[in-house]
């Protein structure tokens, strides 16, 4: 660490986003980048804490202070090496991670201006690709074979780790390409898909076999492997079984998002198949990140308007005493997609979908609800108020999360990783889960020797 007082003189500087008018017309990445000098200055703000809460908060245990130090000294290759010790896909997390590290950064606590950990991370890996620090390596083989079912972040991360340890890894994926929700869920304006392809090319050269379009029945795992990683994610979205659900124009969020990404990747869809918000009055039900992605996507598809509703109350702005530092703060977040235009309402429960007369959805009847704190301190309880109203819309997206998957009783050589194990969560947790499962698998194999 060059100067422990740098944070006093150098303000946090985010790279910022492309202007709304410019970005809503296309799916190019919204986030911009800083020049190298500014990036080094940003890294120099890291105080190299005796107790680095960023490192602690990161599910991957990224040793941010170590690589911030390297970056601020211009030692990019070292920074890359340090970063890749804990993170196999910094180009993913550097773009789309909600950055638990920054929320628990001491500078966030002290002066609401954390180190730009995520952006710095992204700079390191982009530089590493640019400079050729990232190149295929070969690892001595140990003669054992493993299958990874599902090529989402958890599966990929497990595959990378196992490959490093010498296993012959085959990744089985039902979709035409790897990446899981990173490829088929996250819109391109947040993460361009060349990022995944670039990495896959490296992985393939390192000896990982990818087989696409393979649907694996987890009840009957394919033969010929010493062990398995199940990283099939959470394929089932939570539904909203209220009257009118069968009407046309009501989609799951992923229906929209996946198709948009596939279309951008060059796939063609028939008119009947097409899910598009073009010219529509869109209602997104569910106030999370997926909902947010839907908003951005709808804007780019040329919708007329967007509203987002959420059953939970509006979270506090800025600071929430219920979730103090270094915990993840439950506060109002405004994404780039929100900035692009969206009405947001909270504490609304959906009662029924209304027919526009043509079998298409024409609106939703919602009821305002109140949330009462539970006497035992548990989950607050919902109390309907009876104040009902109707929201007009002709395009509804259900973004209410995903269901925790059920698995059959697996044998001892099968290890479940990522969302498939924990239920829906963040990409960074999936990556950590993949690593953990790989370690478990390796321990299992090594103990059997």
């Amino acid at each position: 660490m060059g100067n422990p007082n740098a944070f006093l003189t150098i303000p946090r500087q985010e790279a910022g986003h492309r202007p709304v008018y410019e970005r809503v017309s296309n799916f190019g990445e919204v986030e911009q980048t800083l020049n190298e000098g500014d990036r080094m200055l940003q890294a120099s703000r890291c105080m190299d804490c005796g107790v680095p809460f960023c490192h602690w908060a990161c599910p991957l245990g990224n040793r941010s202070p170590e690589w911030q130090d390297a970056v601020c000294k211009g030692k990019w290759e070292l920074a890359y090496k340090l970063l890749s010790q804990t993170n196999d896909f910094p180009e993913f997390t550097g773009r789309i991670c909600p950055a638990l590290c920054e929320k628990s950064c001491v500078l966030n606590h002290a002066m609401d201006a954390p180190v730009t950990v995520r952006e710095n991370e992204c700079s390191i890996i982009e530089r590493a690709f640019r400079e050729g620090y990232v190149h295929p390596r070969s690892y001595p083989r140990n003669g054992r074979k493993v299958a990874v079912v599902g090529a989402g972040p958890a599966g990929l991360s497990a595959a990378v780790q196992l490959n490093k340890k010498g296993y012959e890894v085959t990744v089985l994926e039902k979709m035409p390409s790897a990446g899981g929700l990173v490829r088929y869920g996250i819109p391109n304006f947040k993460l361009d898909k060349y990022v995944i392809d670039r990495r896959l090319a490296v992985l393939e050269q390192e000896g990982i076999t990818f087989r696409y379009g393979v649907k694996v029945d987890t009840e009957h795992l394919p033969e010929g492997y010493d062990a398995y990683i199940i990283s099939t994610g959470t394929p089932v979205a939570r539904d909203l079984p209220i009257p009118g659900r069968e009407l046309k124009g009501i989609y799951f969020a992923l229906d929209l998002l996946t198709q948009q990404n596939r279309r951008l990747a060059g796939e063609q869809f028939s008119k009947e198949e097409t899910v598009s918000a073009k010219g529509r009055k869109v209602l997104v039900i569910g106030g999370g990140d997926t909902g947010s992605d839907c908003i951005g996507t709808c804007h780019r598809q040329g919708c007329r308007s967007v509203m987002q509703i959420e059953i939970m109350p509006k979270p506090p702005e800025g600071y929430n005493p219920a979730t103090p530092w270094p915990a993840w703060p439950m506060i109002l977040r405004t994404s780039t997609s929100h900035e692009e235009g969206c009405e947001r309402r909270w504490s609304l429960s959906s009662c029924r979908f209304l027919d526009d007369g043509n079998g298409r959805v024409g609106g939703v009847e919602v009821e305002e609800v109140e949330w009462l704190p539970a006497p035992d301190g548990g989950r607050p309880q919902m109390k309907p108020t009876g104040r009902k109203s109707i929201i007009e819309c002709d395009f509804v997206l259900l973004a209410m999360g995903f269901l925790r998957p059920q698995h059959p009783q697996f044998g001892p050589n099968v290890f479940v990783a990522g969302d498939a194990r924990t239920g829906p969560s963040l990409v960074v947790r999936a990556l950590a889960g993949g690593r953990a499962a790989a370690q478990e698998l390796d321990d299992y194999i090594m103990n059997r020797l």
Partner: protein, 1481 residues
Amino acid sequence: MERTLYDPAYEHDACGVGLIADLNGNKTHQLVSDGLTMLENLKHRGAEGADAKTGDGAGIMVQIPHEFILLQGIPVPERSRYGTGLVFLPKDGKAGEEYIEVLREEIRREGLVLSNVREVPVNSDILGETARACEPHVVQVFITGANSPEGLETRLYRIRKHVEQKISDKDFYIVSLSSKVLIYKGMLTSTQLKEYYPDLSSPFFTSGLALVHSRFSTNTFPAWSLAQPFRMMAHNGEINTIRGNRGWMEAREGVLSSKALGDVRDISPIIQPGMSDSASFDNTMEFFYHSGMELPHVMSMMIPESFNEKNPIGNDLKAFYEYHSILMEPWDGPAAILFSDGRYAGGMLDRNGLRPSRYLITDKGVLAIASEAGCLPVSAGSVVEKGSLQPGKILMVDTRTGRIFRNDEIKQTLADGHDYRRWLSNGRIELAKLRSGRKAENTVPDFEKKLRAFDYTREDVERIIIPMCNSASEPVSSMGNDTPLAAVSERPQLLFNYFRQQFAQVTNPPIDPIREDLVMSLTEYIGAVGMNILTPDEDHCKMVRLPQPVLTNDELDILCHIRYKGFNTEVLPILFEKSKGEIGMKEALDSLCREAEASVDKGINYIILSDRGIDETHAAIPSLLAVSAIHHYLVKVQKRVRTALIVESGEIRETMHSALLLGYGASAVNPYMAFAIIDDLVKKGELQLDFETARKNYIKAVDKGLKKILSKMGISTIRSYRGAKIFESIGLGAELLKDYFGTPSSTVGGISLSRIALDAARLHAQGFCSEVSDILPHVGQYSFRKDGIQHSWTPEAIAALQLSTRTGNYKKFKEFTSIVDGHKDPIFLRDFFSFRHNPIPIEEVEPVEEIVKRFVGAAMSFGAISQGAHEAIAEALNRLGSRSNTGEGGEDRERFHTDKNSGIKQVASGRFGVTTEYLVNAREIQIKIAQGAKPGEGGQLPGYKVDEIIARTRHSIPGISLISPPPHHDIYSIEDLAQLIFDLRNVNPEARISVKLVAESGVGTVAAGVAKAKADLIVISGAEGGTGASPMSSIRYAGISPEIGLSETRQTLIKNGLRDKVTLQTDGQLKTGRDVVAMALLGADEFGFGTAQLIVLGCVLMRKCHANSCPMGIATRNKKLLGLYRGCSDSLVNYYRFLAEEVREYLADMGFRKFEDIVGRTDLIVVDRAKAGSKAASLDFSRLLCQDDEGPLHADPDHRNILGDVLDKHIMAAARPALEEGRNVSLHYGISNTDRAVGAMLSGRIAERYGEEGLPDGTLNVTFHGSAGQSFGAFLMKGVSFRLEGETNDYLGKGLSGGRIVVRPDPDAHFDASANTIAGNTLLYGATSGSLFMAGRAGERFAVRNSGAIAVVEGVGDHCCEYMTGGRVVVLGPTGRNFAAGMSGGLAYVWDPDHNFDYYCNMEMIELGLIEEKARMEELKSLIAEHRRLTGSALAARMLEHWSEYAEDFIQVTPIEYKRVLHEEQLRKLNEKIDNVQMDY
């Protein structure tokens, strides 16, 4: 093996000494009686045990009272033809008779006759209980049959040594056996000596000299034999280097035969085992004396003065010292030694002059030397000379001829003894001057593998090596160490990690290695010591001189290849076959020892132990193990001094590593991997230096670090440190310690060789058995890492503690404690404890309000932490009825009478802000001896951190650096501490006086001494305690776990019957109720919390306190950051209440209603067995938990230490009109040296009533006549004026707070005031304001740490104005060495008629110049005029009369920082003026 942790080897003592000799050779009883009077007047320097009647020891040495003996009817031949001496026999008559027979037989074998055994009459009734229990049967033996006095002394010596060889009963002791002197001594107080031995009162009991001693021992155990004088000397002080000295004397015995004594084996061991440091010194001294050396020669060899270039002594004398330094390492330590062989008698001080010694010579031909002036009443008119012994100097008289030998004469004679200079220049080789033309490689093959095999981490490189290369000093860090002890960590450890540095506290002072560098030396000589070194010979000089112990690869290469002058070397690989494991390592060690022995036999001059050859199959033996094993083996076979050991090891990177290797016997080390890393860093551009510079800086950093490690033990030279083993281990098994480290026992047991072999193999495997990644691992030693080394402060714990205390949520608090108590693997020793259950309803347990009073704030100074945090802590603890601690930075007086007043006022070595008013506003005054994170070290607050408010509270000047010296300059010894306690109790009789110590082995004995010095409370701080800034190696490697220190303290206090007389407090990483209960069971009454408090206030353990960048606004002075502080006292109140609540739960579970009932109850501790086969399973807590002695287990809350009658009480009564109504009062008193701290109590009352302002000037005037005791005028307040006609002792004007002191010789005295010493050492220590005028000279360290007083004096000793930060000092006479060391503020004017003052100055921080400014010259002149007016000084009168002549000879000493501040001030004023001028236009 010992059952408890108490070990008599750690006993310390110190004392008062006195010598009186008749220069005319008259033998009188008056002289003996005067000697006893001196002794009685030194009573306060001795101590009493718990029964208040048992003294620690007193004794007297006299010339043999021939007439008296004849009068007893004992037929003895004429004077000097017979030997006599007292003998202590066991009370059991039969054993006694047997021993007398042994004695008789030995006398017979020597050809002499035991002609008589006289029962010495004693008066046992006066003895205290403890002394009586072990009272010996005292007889006097008479040995006749010698034909001539020639050689009789030596024969008697031989007899005594032979008897000592034969009888090992500790109840048998020959007090002395001599034809010249006789010694009476015993476990007595000073006043009891005369009563106990009626002999001494007989008018026929005459002598021409008397040497007396009064002992203050830390422990009062049966120790009649340890009373002094010993056979040739009496010692006040402590030999710090004793372990090394004893070891090397043992090692040296093989080469010490002399003509006079014959084969040394006949009298071996030279040093009688099981005795005190002084006794060992005496043994060695008499050995050399009987070998034929003159007394001054022996003394100068054993206690050489410092002879580096900063010392003004001649080159011949330097050569004398250098020659002898090859033969003998210095016996270093605070020492005033008075010695006599019956004819010659004299005194000498150690090189630092750390003990006072004052002398006078009367016109009747009597010389008296004593620890204090005035202890022998002499009429002023008869004194012809008064002086004080100087550091490293001797004064001696021949009682036969009456001749006085002054130092210069003695030393010149010694220097002229042989042509030492020529001998040295012919024989000695200086490594720095050798050139070989060869070039040693700095790279290492298989570098990456070896890095891992030697367990290098990225932190080693980035946090240790790089900073050392860049800044040439050790890196600094902050907060405490919260990682697991090596002993409990399952990670493979370097063997170094098990060791901790020891340090001096209370019983001897650490040294300031920076400001007092002139006494330090890292010079080492290597080569083979020849046989018969007692015969002076040029051949002994055949040595290589190393300027410092770290050798570069080039230097080592040269050493290996000197063939010049017959030097031989051999390299022994310290490797073992990894596949053979423990057996392989053991075999390798055995064969190494044998090979080393064979090398010695071959005449190899130095053996190089190297692990360079580590490869796929060979792992390295830990270098420390190898060197220690060989060192101890060679000592055992008596061949050690005939060779030198050099370690070439890849393990060495930190200073601690080098220190350990040297401490266990190596003469030099070569850290080749560190050099390879530096080389690599330079090549990669990570170090922007060239290799030579980087390496030079690295070595310089190690050198500085070594000096620091040496100095914290009070040791000045590496030669006394080598092999002295001034370390202790935690977690090494007894067998291992015994076999390889020469240490007889282990505190808590631990690992054996098998585990070391296993770890060595595992480390080797890190490098050689697996593919190594291209980045070194970062294991989280210095900062938390999830998968790294465990820390006890985890992010979860910090977050939970902050949240729970902020919101007042007890449930959340329990979450915090379960995180902390439940960490995965043990970290501290207490983690192995659980407690017995016997539940009772919690309602029955005493309330939270009672328990919280036992929790106190740990010392953190304002300045180290911000005002907000400091005040919040004070507020919270005041609300709880407990006490916060000011720390060492003083306290803003605005806070004194508010709820922000800190209950505990700390008095640290810097004495910052320690004014009378500060002290009277305390409920507890804490003397900080040491701090867990850096025991034995000083500190520094850099000038840029000293802003207006800090300067105000510390009574200093903004912008000026403030240095805290390593020692308290008024505590060099235990009786000094007693004096300081006495001073403080006088100032504030209501406050408890506490003493803060740091845990180390031996702390129990120190604590017992502190209790005997009448402290009310003792803090045993754990080594893990926090800090605002401290060298990283000190945080990690100094001091030990509080569990061990506390247990030893508990055991020792109970053994001494002192436990209920003192409250015990502990601290160091305490966090939860469980910690509190565990430490209570080990004996603590109270508990200190530091880090936990800060975390409650928002600290997130950045460990950046030293960087001034605390983002939580706690440990910073940065205004912007201060704004980020968001702590509040309510959270702290919550914390302490929660903690108490949790303690209640434990009490209920254990079945106790009151907290005090569990204190010291080690029987309630259940030790949780660690996993079998784990490292921790080898720990053994039995010594820790054992409680053998019976007695109270906790402090008696009603015990009070009460002050007796002091002069101040009389003064206060007489001065009532002044104190109460402000009327002018003048008083007169006689005063003697037993009147101590006069003025302190009086000042306390004034400060209490009138605050800092005191009384109007001149309100109370008191004149004293006589010899004032120590601390005269201490803390004297404004408005009080003391005038002393006579002389004074040490610590005059300590903490002066506005009062005026005038000292001048007695009007009857005839001597020239300006040429005689009338005051002791360490005057005006920590004075903040006021003035002193003294017509006469003072001793060492005049005006040390003065921050505002004005003083005029007519001559000073060494280290004048040390650490001074303000005020004025005028010296109208000579100064000693090292003037103005560490002086950052104030001004000094020195009269320098000889124009050599610059030589005596430490120029580091000051500038010298003539007095140029008119204002300055006027100031000086007016001070001298004032001096003349007040003291009537003849010198001052002369100067004023011829002012223009004298004025030119004055030198102004200006600290550079002060100069800058003055300059800025001037600039500011100018700018103001300019601004005003512009406004007028």
